[in-house]
Symmetry: C2
Subunit: 327 residues, 2 copies
């Protein structure tokens, strides 16, 4: 009895507005973490298809040993609602996962302004637009922020939190706790820049990739191959800063000294002039050395190699159910 | 007997000049593919340590089920040489893996000009400098090209081939066959641009990442986390073009239409103005649709998800030998 009650106490009533890929994925995450979820979409077909599509993802997860409960149990926690009011009225955490259109998001937030409960945290999954640009005028604004997940959120377990100046600290801290609680690593984006961090980095790669195709240097498929088996595989183990920190004896300080000028020339060819000044490099070096003292560098290189091996070993293993492969 | 002879016939005598991380890794790959390797380094300590270090990588590979032969067998194919002449005199494929300094590479190539056999393919592992910039004046030049592996080459199975205008087609084709034969996917870089493709893409990410830290948007570790669990994990399964092709209903054509302007604004903030013109987008769309007809798009999205699951499952599995983790 006590256990049941305390379990009950830890539950967050979540409402997801929008049953597309992102919304279904967020519903899956909350439900898998044991929370009751109401899922709304204005499109009746989207609503009707959602449980089946979420069920397929759950079955896939189970076949890779990534789900420690029954798919049906998880699904039973998700309820589809046919109105926003019904979906959100009792929710403590509302995640707007609608189309990436400012007018649409503004309209949804205006609706939430009148029907969300007085304590609810209200997040938008916008991938590039600031919350200031569509929710600043509302009475709920101090409880609003961006919570931008990666696609698909149930597999890429990171989410950017982007508060506006009007977002309260309490809102940010609650959102962080709730989202970390469903298994997402939260990244605080401290300024409301377009594209946040995720899409800034993605955009940088895409712009360069388009230039290389435009200039006849490589094909689309060759770039994709080079990233899949090279840069991407390594970045899935160590991020871009740690990558170059581990690639150069002497760490990132030595990397910036040796290769900074070449990267600056490549940037200048594209019009970019953002020098790695000595102050900036010093700051980056300080953060890296705090994360990894240079004395641990050789062991970390060996660790990186073994992590890449684990990923390669994972690639070659089929799931328990033999699923058709279209590649 | 016949089998032994035909096996013998398929062997390539390889010489690796430089026994640092890249050189040792290339030696491992050639030896693991059954080829006899001579490994040279001017530093006697590097030479002396190489077999032990290669042995450790082989043991790690075996512990992840990624080596289908005995480490000792592989090692027995590698011979350390104390002179360049001795290392390369009988080699059919020579891979220069020395320091990334033009004068050093020029000096090594001048030495190879006088001691390489008349048929040998002579590749440099330079990560950013063209072969034209240090080998164009030599009598061996038509047999020279860049073969830039990713670090570490024995795990990231891609290699950029960058010929100069003076590189013969035969050289390029032979190099491609030999390197594909040791398990590397070759990517042809059609123009001798600084940084080639790999480091152009890496540079684009690093420059943006440094800007974001400079501007106080996120920390070094936050960027690394966001990439590891988000962008990088996805890019290890689908490259940057396929990523956005699969992220948007309607494919990359719709992605460029909807998000191109936002990426252009983010680029312009960094000084970059490389518009995704309709011609360029059309070309990229045509290549993607040839690789993946739109009718197969939903199945490919499901495949992508399962591949990410396989990577996640791999991450959580320890190797057979419990190795200390310094993370």
């Amino acid at each position: 009895m006590t256990e049941a009650r305390s379990e009950e106490a830890g539950r967050i009533r979540a409402a997801i507005v929008g049953a597309g890929t992102i919304g279904r994925s967020m519903a899956l995450l909350f439900a898998a973490a044991g929370h009751p979820v109401s899922l709304y979409d204005p499109d009746a077909t989207q609503r009707a298809n959602a449980p089946d599509l979420i069920g397929r993802s759950l079955t896939d997860l189970a076949s890779f040993g990534l789900l420690e409960q029954k798919a049906s149990e998880v699904l039973s926690r998700i309820r589809c609602s046919s109105s926003v009011e019904d979906a959100v009225s009792e929710a403590e955490f509302i995640h707007e996962c609608g189309p990436e259109k400012r007018e649409v998001k503004r309209a949804i937030f205006e609706q939430l302004d009148s029907c969300a409960s007085a304590e609810a945290i209200i997040a938008s999954a916008s991938s590039a637009m600031s919350i200031s640009s569509f929710a600043g005028h509302l009475s709920i604004s101090s409880r609003c922020l961006i919570a931008h997940p990666a696609n698909p959120p149930f597999l890429l377990r990171v989410i950017e939190l982007v508060p506006a100046p009007f977002t309260s600290d309490e809102t940010l801290q609650k959102a962080r706790l709730i989202l970390e609680g469903v298994g997402l690593r939260t990244i605080l984006v401290r300024k409301e820049i377009e594209g946040f961090v995720f899409n800034r980095l993605q955009g940088a790669v895409l712009r360069e990739a388009y230039c290389l195709v435009r200039d006849g240097v490589v094909s689309v498929e060759e770039i994709d191959q080079l990233v899949r088996d090279g840069l991407g595989l390594r970045w899935s183990v160590v991020g871009p800063f740690e990558t170059v920190d581990l690639n150069t004896v002497g760490g990132i300080e030595e990397h910036a000294r040796r290769l900074g000028p070449a990267y600056a020339r490549m940037g200048a060819e594209r019009g970019q002039n953002d020098p790695w000044t000595s102050d900036l490099v010093e700051e980056v070096v300080a953060q890296r050395r705090a994360a990894l003292p240079i004395v641990d560098w050789p062991a970390r290189v060996a660790w990186r190699d073994r992590q890449i091996m684990a990923a390669l070993a994972g690639r070659s293993r089929p799931s328990k159910t033999q699923v058709e492969d279209v590649s």
